[in-house]
Symmetry: C2
Subunit: 215 residues, 2 copies
């Protein structure tokens, strides 16, 4: 296990060096199945695609359903099928990134396999990680799955439009998240109503400015 | 990887032989984080604990929050903390089962780590597997995570009380599930309204009768 992680880390460092050289800010987007990662990407493209040259790498076990959703927005998207594997790793992203014209990109979002556990353990060469948690998953999830919250730069509490139909305690969840990761940015989002999307895009735009070509 | 699975399978077979000898029906309950596995267990105990002698093994990465919820119902529960591991395995369950009085039990439910990928790959010695999918996770999940649906004897579509606030297509999800696993039992559930709980308990009661001490 240590060997696998060590080898992955070496390739992740190579990826990171390449992305840095090309001035591309890379975000590793993680969350449970159905947390709303692809919906969030669709909203993000709607707001930012004309402003920031971006591409998407879509991680999935088998299908290309998510990639097809992204493609409709006219943003370059490459699918990685893990053939049952529970997370993306750095070699997969290395191989895939060769197919992208990195010179023309400023933002690359890597949507990981839907899984709140394993993706947090494998760097893919990203600048930062983000975790999407749907409020329908329950407010106990940060404490039960702490690593992904400790590893991520931002936590996106999604589907807040259906908060009234759940017993999710927003204050408790935020408290737990900032206990796990003091100072972490936490945003409330709804891809249905659009709540929080502008703030999310501002956060992302600033990251691209600070760490990408425009830095 | 093949070696790990082979070793796990050997221990799973030992567990299965022990459970069979003791006449205990064992269900491996799986699903994403927040699909509602623990809530379903709470409902199940409410209906069946006075009728069927049962125990629960709770799999979690770190906390004992779920075990505490089960304990309140007066059912024996043992917590397995995987210390970050993304699934339970047969050796963990073997070690834990030694602490249970199997002679007195007819039903053992093993709640796996919240994860729609890895738990499906590791038998723990169960008679059957069950998968809980919350409708808030999206109707594309069966096709995106096929193994867990192929491996399970029953699929429980949970949180149908909030179906009107989602874009989940119930007919499509059922069609996809039965395409993946023809003849699979699919139930619509709500642990909030109680919808489907009686049917679920009937299914479980019949399994215990067919495969447990009463067989």
């Amino acid at each position: 296990m240590k060997n696998i992680l060590g080898e992955n880390d070496r390739t992740a460092a190579e990826n990171q060096a390449l992305f840095k050289e090309k001035g591309v800010y890379v975000l590793n987007l993680m969350g449970s199945p159905g947390a709303g990662k692809t919906s969030l990407l669709e909203k993000t493209m709607e707001f930012l695609k004309d402003e920031i040259p971006m591409a998407v790498i879509e991680g999935d076990l088998f299908t290309s359903r998510d990639a097809e959703r992204i493609e409709k927005h006219g943003v370059p998207v490459i699918q990685i099928n893990t053939a049952g594997g529970c997370h993306l790793d750095a070699p997969m992203v290395q191989k895939t990134a060769q197919k992208l014209d990195l010179d023309k990109l400023e933002l690359l979002i890597v949507e990981n396999v839907g899984n709140l556990v394993c993706p947090a353990e494998f760097a893919v060469g990203e600048d930062e990680k983000a975790v999407v948690l749907s409020v329908t998953e329950g407010d106990d999830k940060p404490m039960k799955y702490p690593l992904i919250f400790k590893e991520s730069a931002i936590a996106l509490l999604n589907k807040v439009d259906i908060l009234p139909y759940t017993n999710f305690d927003l204050a408790q969840a935020k408290e737990d998240i900032t206990t796990l990761h003091p100072g972490m940015r936490v945003l409330e989002l709804s891809c249905t109503t659009g709540q929080g999307i502008a703030e999310w895009c501002t956060w992302l735009r600033n990251r691209v400015k600070e760490k990408g070509k425009r830095a």
